[in-house]
Subunit: 567 residues, 2 copies
């Protein structure tokens, strides 16, 4: 496995052997390592000194269920700190087929042109993307698919990334060619835009799956892991209802963000639940799918296809819990069809639906439109395409939107919006939001499934610590958050998979080792970027304003927050 | 001298003796002390935990030339760090007549009402300001003057402060009752708005000048200082041309910000120079004044009254260099009448003309209007009053404006816009911009008058250090930056004035002692707020983009920047 570099100033490309000290790392961990070693902490995230890194996780390349994710990392224009955002789809698998351990996009073009980076076994080239500029993600994908064939992996940005909006993500086509798997958070798409890259097309037809050191051992471990995953009750839940299964759970806890985090319960939660969605999709039929895999080989298949009333036209695919929470209840919108339309628009713009949902919530509180008015929200999103100041403002994320509009209630940490778990209620996740080097992000350590009193501040720091270490580990493996259901049952398979693939002899503790090493490097990058303990806090208003209906405040003591990374 | 406190939540007021450890401090130094002791570094600048402090300097109260300034301090909503902004006018003098060492506005109202704080020897009260809400600074001042008499001191905010815009300042009436003396920088007006205070009216008619420990000695030192000040050649320059005398000097150096800091020389510099302005004002006559004092007793009188062509109507008073640089050359506007009109609008909105000038420059580069179009700039400012997103965006300052509009060239440090001295040319001032705890601010340590090669990076850190220590000292005395011309000639008078006023026995080094102590407390507050060395840098583009016509970049090494506060 090699390191491929593309310099966007002089258009030079190079391949080099993976340095010894990088070899045991992958995905999120490798990104942290490269950032610490090669990117100045204080650099302008959208300037030539920043780098954009694509790194498949350590277990990517084998169609191991839920384990082919692609991590994208950079210094975030949203948080100003370390950033890794991972996604499903084909990108990780095909990069690995080309033998790419990490693809590093460096420097910045002097002009304003956009390019397509084409990668194959024999050829690396930058092609002009003039005809794609300004086009939405779906149309761009169709054009690229036509040009490069249906099997290519594509990672691309929409108009939001071209405009360098801090909420812009990078979309990857899924196993069916739909560009719906998003490295969503922290503005990685803006950095891709700043590099003058509209898309990366990966043609691995001449590549091959990575060699296995011990094929038999690997297959055995794979079988054991997939069996455990299949047996886990949660796998069935996610197959049936997708992540939207979470809606009634968080609503029951009083922890679903509602009208800009002013309440934790939504009177129309039922209408936007996974259960309701499943019924709707089954009834609508046609193009509707209640279950869909984003990566080849995934046995959970938590995605879906949301078609319209007639079943004939797809509105969006997939419709997931975070979007339902942030663009539904958080905007006071209790109608899945409207949420799906908003979701499509955000996807086509190439933006993060969490950040935009939170920013729209703040904008509604700031008087820009009325909560519950899906049409007005959609109109605002459509306005983004013109590059209007208001569109650019909301596209800059919840924190900037709130500061400019004079809104006190901004649900963000380190400049990044919270996901759809109210941290005053699910306090362990609040600790994660506060202390994660990534900014507020549930995928960095969600605690909602722990059997604890979530409103009790005691013990939440430890709970978050464990979750953060695990997640940093999984993100380095290329494993989806839900692969954890399987790995948790048969943890020895992680060690076995790594050892049989790489011919290593890592120990039982490998997940935690990778997790801790990753978190320490990420914190080191943030330290160099100027972060301190002062940044590891929830916004002040969450410490004093109770959230209905249970009315807790966030009361995990600062000392507990500061203990999270003391192992 | 006492500490007066006003709690805006319960409307309680209190007076207390000055704590022993606060007594030797005044103005900027006292503010730093109070912030470190009473305001949590991580608090929301617009929330109830922040405090707004009015503190006259140590020498205020005697009509000592240029030494009656009022410092206002708080945690800045613009920079997120320590903030002190000082101004002339009557406020400092009259607060001192009431025996107020510091006025501390605490907590925050629960509702959205605005109040007038009335202070006199016998009465402290909060009066409803319903009829003033939304009104501009000039109209508000007229109404308050009518209600409270022509002799009252008034400190007030405009619509910008009510909207809590991060560029909002606090205006003070000058000796003639004109509300033109501005605690301009860092959003102190936004904090006043967040406290629900539209204005503070100070009636010192029953008060009296502070007692002097040794009246004869004080008068003698005063005489010596004023004589030295009067004799300084710069005093005559500022009397004749005002601060606008600086225009041709900076233009000559290639250091006048032009079209969003893209050049250091302006082809119309002549037209917006102090020399041209003086000629114009002399020719226009009528209400024009080429020289005007903002504080009673000032012998420099660097202000002016800028009347229109007919001389019959005042456009603005005063028109100063920073405004000419930031709203003139920086916007490509080479017409003093247009600059004066923009200045009036910004004053009436209650905003900082430096921050707004810089933000408009960034907005022009971002395509919002064309450089050189005064009418379009004015239209934008007028739009502020409606609270439109674009108005609020520009009102949030240059950095936020640039980030949202995707502009790379943002002239700001710690979120605060640079003043009208190009730091790539006047590198000592660049060091000040980079390292001052206040963010980019020429008043924290201007080096342009030093007899050095300003483009040579060597020695600039030391030069900035001396200037920063001096300025922090003067800002603690209540002395105007120009009083320094006198004090530099007869430095022993500082010691003499303090000792004869307070009955102390401070040494020759008192200015530096005050300066260093102040800077160390400010840095401590910033440390608690989460600042690190990473914040003590100029923006990255200034390290690589040469500024015409001399084409220097900023190349003072980081080690030098980090040495500034190593005494």
């Amino acid at each position: 496995m090699n390191i491929w570099r593309v310099n966007m100033q002089n258009q030079q490309v190079s391949k080099e052997a993976t340095p010894e000290t990088w070899r045991h790392l992958g995905g999120r961990g490798l990104i942290a390592k490269i950032l610490v070693e090669e990117v100045p902490g204080t650099c302008d995230p959208l300037g030539p000194k920043n780098k954009l890194i694509f790194a498949p996780g350590l277990l990517v390349g084998h169609r191991l269920s839920s384990c082919d994710r692609i991590s994208v990392g950079t210094k975030s224009p949203l948080t100003g700190g370390v950033k890794e955002a991972n996604a499903g789809g084909r990108t990780g698998l095909q990069l690995t087929y080309l033998g790419i351990k990490a693809l590093i996009i460096e420097s910045a073009p002097t002009g304003k042109d956009f390019f397509i980076l084409y990668l194959s076994q024999d050829k690396i080239e930058l092609l002009r993307a003039d005809e794609l500029v300004g086009k939405g993600v779906y149309e761009t994908t169709a054009l690229l698919t036509k040009a490069f064939g249906e099997k290519a992996a594509i990672a691309l940005i929409g108009p939001g990334g071209e405009m360098k909006l801090s909420s812009a993500g990078i979309q990857n086509v899924d196993k069916d060619g739909v560009p719906s798997r998003i490295n969503a958070r922290g503005g990685v798409g803006a950095v891709m835009g700043s590099k003058g890259l509209k898309a990366i097309v990966i043609d691995s037809s001449t590549g091959s799956p990575p060699e296995l050191f011990n094929e038999g051992g690997f297959k055995e471990a794979q079988k054991e892991f997939q069996k455990a995953l299949l047996a886990h009750p949660q796998t069935t839940v996610y197959s049936d209802y997708g992540t939207a299964a979470m809606t009634l759970m968080t609503n029951g806890f009083g922890a679903i963000p509602t009208r800009n985090f002013s309440s934790g319960q939504f009177e129309h939660a039922e209408k936007i639940s996974g259960e309701t969605m499943r019924e709707m999709l089954l009834k609508r039929g046609g193009k509707s799918q209640t279950s869909h895999a984003c990566m080849a080989g995934c046995i959970i298949r938590c995605s879906n296809v949301f078609a319209d009333e007639s079943g004939k036209n797809e509105i969006v695919s997939p419709l997931e819990y975070e979007t339902i929470g942030l663009m539904g209840s958080n905007l006071g919108i209790g109608d899945l069809d409207w949420i799906a339309r908003l979701n499509w628009e955000v996807n086509d713009l190439g933006l993060d639906s969490i950040e935009i949902g939170a920013a729209l919530g703040v904008a509604a509180e700031g008087g820009i439109f009325e909560f519950g008015n899906g049409k007005a929200a959609l109109k605002l999103l459509i306005e983004f395409r013109s590059g209007s100041p208001l569109g650019r403002l909301i596209g800059s994320g919840a924190e900037t939107t709130g500061k400019v509009l004079g809104v006190k209630r901004i649900p963000a940490v380190k400049g990044q919006a919270m996901s759809a778990y109210e941290p005053r209620v699910i306090k362990g996740t609040g600790v994660t939001y506060a202390t994660s080097p990534q900014g507020a992000d549930h995928t960095c350590g969600l605690t909602i499934r722990a059997k604890v009193d979530h409103q009790d501040p005691k013990g939440q720091a430890k709970l978050s610590q464990r979750a953060q270490v695990n997640m940093a580990g999984y993100d380095s493996l290329g494993a989806c958050i839900f692969a954890g259901f399987g790995f948790a049952s048969v943890p020895q398979t992680i060690k076995a998979l790594i050892n049989t693939r790489y011919g290593l002899s890592v120990g039982d503790d490998i997940l935690h080792q990778l997790g801790k090493e990753t978190l320490e490097m990420e914190r080191e990058f943030n330290r160099l970027a100027g972060f301190t303990q002062a940044d590891d806090r929830l916004p002040e208003w969450m410490y004093s304003e109770p959230v209905p209906p249970n009315n807790p405040i966030f009361d995990v003591p600062d000392e507990d927050l500061d203990s999270v990374f003391v192992w």
